[in-house]
Amino acid sequence: MIGALWVVVLVALGALAVYGIALSALNRPPDVWTKRVAGAVTALLLVQAVIAAVQVFGGVTLPETSTFLIYLVVSVCVLPIATQFATAEPTRWGGAVVAVGAIATAVAVWRLDGLWAAGA
């Protein structure tokens, strides 16, 4: 885990959640930027997951390795699924769906740090 990247990921997820809620509040369906930003945040999550997985399989020992790895997989998978589901029906509610995905992912990323710190 890299502290700076973790902070960037959380800020990006928070910004995406705010953007999604704003879209719903303004009665606008998800636009092309929703997909682009969600894609960029997913790329960041993937980078973080690869780095953390390499460290875990490279010998870093954690008290709950399996739990950590499950959270790692969840942190990468939820946002793309939510974005797909949000854009499948282009109504004002799509933005809120993206926000739910972003918030759930943020909780998983937050927990990742706790599970990592417990082993350090």
């Binding site: 969840v74 939820v78 589901f85 769906v97 739910v100």
Partner: protein, 141 residues
């Protein structure tokens, strides 16, 4: 293929999986995933510590999965499934919530429904209320 929206005179869609229902399904999906994964890890790694709490976690996970499937599906069968799952969820969170407030001994480890879902920002308490309201709101007339 769903028909594209053709104008303001179009009949409102009464499917549970449309409009704000999609936000509800997204939240249910997240809880289905997190409750099931959590219960899976608990049962696989330390089942003997708190078997009742962990089995309850697994039950909650299954209920969230069924509710998600019911709300996301179409037709009367999916609607019945959603009513049953969300109704069970309502009873479950109220029962477990009340028991855990008054008697902590039987529940040494937290479940999704402990203390009305306090560990999850009380979302587990609000969710079935919204779910039942949404099912009623979209019921065929």
């Amino acid at each position: 293929m769903p028909e594209p929206a053709s104008g303001p005179a179009r009949e409102p869609v009464r499917a549970t999986s449309s409009g704000p229902g999609r936000v509800l399904i997204a939240v249910y999906g997240v809880f289905a995933l997190s409750a099931t994964a959590r219960a899976g890890v608990q049962i696989a790694t330390r089942f003997s510590e708190a078997p009742l709490a962990y089995l309850l976690s697994a039950l909650a996970g299954v209920v969230y999965i069924l509710a998600t499937i019911g709300l996301a599906g179409h037709g009367p069968g999916a609607r019945r499934l959603a009513w049953a799952a969300v109704g069970f969820e309502m009873v479950g969170v109220l029962t477990v919530g009340t028991l855990t407030v008054f008697d902590t001994a039987d529940f040494p480890d937290d479940t999704v429904w402990s203390v009305f879902g306090r560990g999850y920002g009380f979302v587990p308490l609000v969710l079935p209320v919204l779910g039942l309201w949404w099912l009623r709101h979209t019921r065929p007339r």
